[in-house]
C-alpha cells in the first residue's frame, strides 16, 4: 500500500521507515512501513472553519461495540433518541468512519483491535471514551486483563463518565464533541502522530503479542 499525501511538504519524514518487527519477513512485504505525519489544516482560516462545521454536522460513527457500553449505542438510532437528526450516522467500516466510540472496559485483546481500527480511520478522527472504565478502569481497575486509562493508548477527545451512561448522556456528549470540533480543538490524529513513540511504547507495554504492523495504514 502506498500513501497518498495531500501535504507534499511533509514528505521528508517518510524517509524514516517503521520497523514492523512484529511481522515475519514475508508479511513485511505486504504492509506499508511509512511513518505517519501530522497534517496541517487548510491555509485559509474560513475554509477550515467551514470544513469543521461540516465535520461537526456529519459525524460518522464506527459501529464497533468494544464492551458492555455497546448496548447503549443501539437505542441511539431508535425513534426515542434518534441521533440521525444531529447528523450522527453509523458506518460499518473504519475507513469511512470519523468517530470511534470506545464503549466501556476494553480488554488487552480488544485494545489491539481498537488500535487497528483507529489507525485505519482517515483523519480528522475523533475518539469518545464512554463510561468510567475508559477513564480510570472503573470496577475493573484491578483486573489482570483490562486497561485502565484509555488516553495512554489512543488520543481521546471526549470522556463521558457513568456506568453505563444513558443514551441521553451520549447525545449530550455528541453535542459537546460538535462544539469542540467547531472550535477546532479536536486534533487527536495529529497528537497521535506527534507523540507516536510514546503511544507505541504504551501500547507495546500491554500488548505482548504484537503481530501487526506498527501503523495500520
Amino acid at each position: 500500500m502506498n500513501k497518498q499525501d495531500k501535504n507534499p511538504g511533509n514528505n521528508r519524514e517518510n524517509l524514516i521507515k517503521l520497523e514492523n518487527a512484529g511481522l515475519t519477513a514475508e508479511e513485511q512485504q505486504l504492509f506499508c512501513d511509512a511513518v505517519p505525519v501530522p497534517y496541517e489544516p487548510y491555509s485559509l482560516e474560513f475554509v477550515e472553519r467551514f470544513h469543521n462545521w461540516i465535520r461537526a454536522n456529519s459525524l460518522w460513527v464506527l459501529a464497533f461495540g468494544t464492551g458492555c457500553g455497546a448496548i447503549e449505542l443501539n437505542p441511539l438510532m431508535t425513534s426515542r433518541f434518534d441521533a440521525n437528526r444531529f447528523g450522527v450516522m453509523m458506518r460499518p467500516t473504519p475507513r469511512q468512519a470519523s468517530v470511534l466510540i470506545v464503549a466501556g472496559y476494553s480488554s488487552v485483546k480488544t485494545l489491539k483491535r481498537i488500535i487497528r481500527s483507529y489507525e485505519q480511520m482517515q483523519g480528522p478522527k475523533f475518539v469518545i471514551g464512554l463510561g468510567i472504565c475508559t477513564i480510570n478502569g472503573g470496577m475493573y481497575y484491578d483486573s489482570y486483563n483490562t486497561i485502565n486509562c484509555l488516553d495512554r493508548y489512543i488520543p481521546v477527545d471526549l470522556y463521558i463518565t457513568g456506568c453505563m451512561p444513558r443514551p441521553e448522556a451520549l447525545l449530550a456528549g455528541f453535542m459537546e464533541l460538535k462544539r469542540k470540533i467547531k472550535a477546532g480543538e479536536c486534533d487527536g490524529a495529529n497528537r497521535y502522530v506527534k507523540d507516536f513513540d510514546w503511544y507505541k511504547a504504551n501500547q507495546k507495554k500491554v500488548i505482548k503479542k504484537w503481530d501487526m504492523p506498527d501503523y495500520n495504514w
Binding site: N2, K3, N57, T78, D82, P92, Q122, P124
Partner: protein, 306 residues
C-alpha cells in the same frame, strides 16, 4: 447549436440532476423517519456528507485500479445521463440525444458497475469481491427482463431513439407505454426493483453481513465521488424509465413528480420485504419477470398495434 453551448447545457443538467438526486434521497430518508416516528436527517444532510468525505485530510490508495474505480463509476453515471433527454422538447435539458441512444444508454448502465468491480477487487478487502460477485450475478439476472422490455419497446415504436419514443407518447395519458404495452412496463419495473438497491434486492451492500460490500475500503474523496455518482445515476435511471414507459416530461415540475412517484415504488416495496439471498434473487428474476418480458415481446409481435 454549437458544441460549447451544448456542453454547458449538459453541465447544467448534471448539476440539476445531482441536486435533485440528493434531495430525493434525503426526502425519502426523512419520510421513512417520520413513518418510524423519528425526526430524521435534515434535508441538506447528503450535501454535508459529500463535503465531509471530500474534506478528509488523509487518503490511502491500494493501486491504480483502486483509484480508477470511482472514476469509472462516475463515468457510468454521467454517460447514462448524457444521452437521455431529461425534459422532452427542452433545449437545456435535451442532452446529446441521437438516433440510437437507447442502446448506448443500456451499455452505460453496465459500464459503471464493471469499473467499480475492478477497482473494489484491488482494494483487497474480502467483503468487496463478495459484494461484487453478488452484484454482478444479480445484475446479469435482472438485465434479462429489462432487455426483453426494451426489445418490446423497440418493436412497438420501431426506433431506438429515446426522444422519438417520448414523442410517440405525447398527446394523451393513454398513449403512454404503460397503457399501450403493459407487459413490457411490468417486466421493466421488476428489473427496476433490482437496480434500485432497496431491501428485497439490496444484497450487494447488505450492511448486516458484508458491511457495505464493494465500497468497504473506499473513503475520503473516493467515497465522495461514489456518493455523487449515486445521486446522478439514480436520477438518470429514473428519467430513463419515465421517458420509456411513463410518457416523459415536458417541464421540470412534471419530471419531479413522475420520477418521485417511480422512486416510491421500490421504496414502498422495500419497507415491506426482507432481503433476498443471491440465489433467491436470481431465481426470482429469471422466473416471473422474464416470463412477463417474453410475453411482452410476443404480444408486440402478434397482437401489438403501433
Amino acid at each position: 447549436m454549437n458544441w460549447a453551448l451544448s456542453i454547458f447545457y449538459y453541465i447544467v443538467t448534471v448539476l440539476v440532476v445531482l441536486v435533485y438526486g440528493l434531495l430525493l434521497y434525503a426526502f425519502i430518508a426523512k419520510t421513512m423517519a417520520r413513518v418510524q416516528g423519528r425526526i430524521g436527517i435534515p434535508i441538506y444532510q447528503p450535501f454535508l456528507d459529500i463535503i465531509q468525505t471530500y474534506g478528509r485530510r488523509t487518503a490511502v490508495t491500494h493501486g491504480y485500479m483502486f483509484d480508477l474505480g470511482p472514476v469509472f463509476r462516475l463515468t457510468g453515471g454521467l454517460g447514462t445521463l448524457a444521452f437521455i433527454p431529461v425534459i422532452y422538447g427542452s433545449e437545456i435539458f435535451g442532452n446529446f440525444h441521437f438516433a440510437g441512444d437507447l442502446l448506448l444508454v443500456m451499455y452505460f448502465i453496465f459500464f459503471g458497475q464493471l469499473g467499480m468491480a475492478l477497482g473494489a477487487g484491488e482494494s483487497g478487502h474480502p467483503y468487496a469481491p463478495m459484494g461484487i460477485a453478488r452484484g454482478l450475478a444479480q445484475m446479469t439476472a435482472f438485465e434479462v427482463p429489462f432487455a426483453l422490455a426494451v426489445i418490446a419497446v423497440f418493436m412497438q415504436y420501431e426506433t431506438a431513439s429515446i426522444t422519438e419514443i417520448v414523442a410517440a407518447q405525447q398527446g394523451s395519458i393513454y398513449n403512454w407505454t404503460l397503457f399501450t404495452n403493459p407487459f413490457a412496463v411490468l417486466a421493466a419495473m421488476f428489473a427496476f426493483l433490482g437496480m434500485s438497491m432497496y431491501p428485497p434486492f439490496d444484497l450487494v451492500t447488505a450492511p448486516n453481513e458484508i458491511p457495505i460490500g464493494p465500497p468497504t475500503e473506499y473513503h475520503s474523496a473516493y467515497l465522495s465521488l461514489l456518493q455523487t455518482n449515486r445521486a446522478i445515476f439514480a436520477g438518470a435511471k429514473l428519467v430513463l424509465f419515465m421517458n420509456l414507459f411513463f410518457g416523459g416530461a415536458t417541464n421540470l415540475p412534471i419530471m419531479v413528480l413522475k420520477t418521485w412517484a417511480i422512486y416510491m415504488i421500490p421504496v414502498l416495496i422495500g419497507v415491506a420485504f426482507p432481503r433476498f439471498k443471491v440465489e433467491n434473487s436470481i431465481r426470482f428474476f429469471l422466473g416471473v419477470p422474464t416470463l412477463v418480458g417474453i410475453i411482452a415481446v410476443l404480444y408486440m409481435q402478434y397482437w401489438g398495434t403501433v
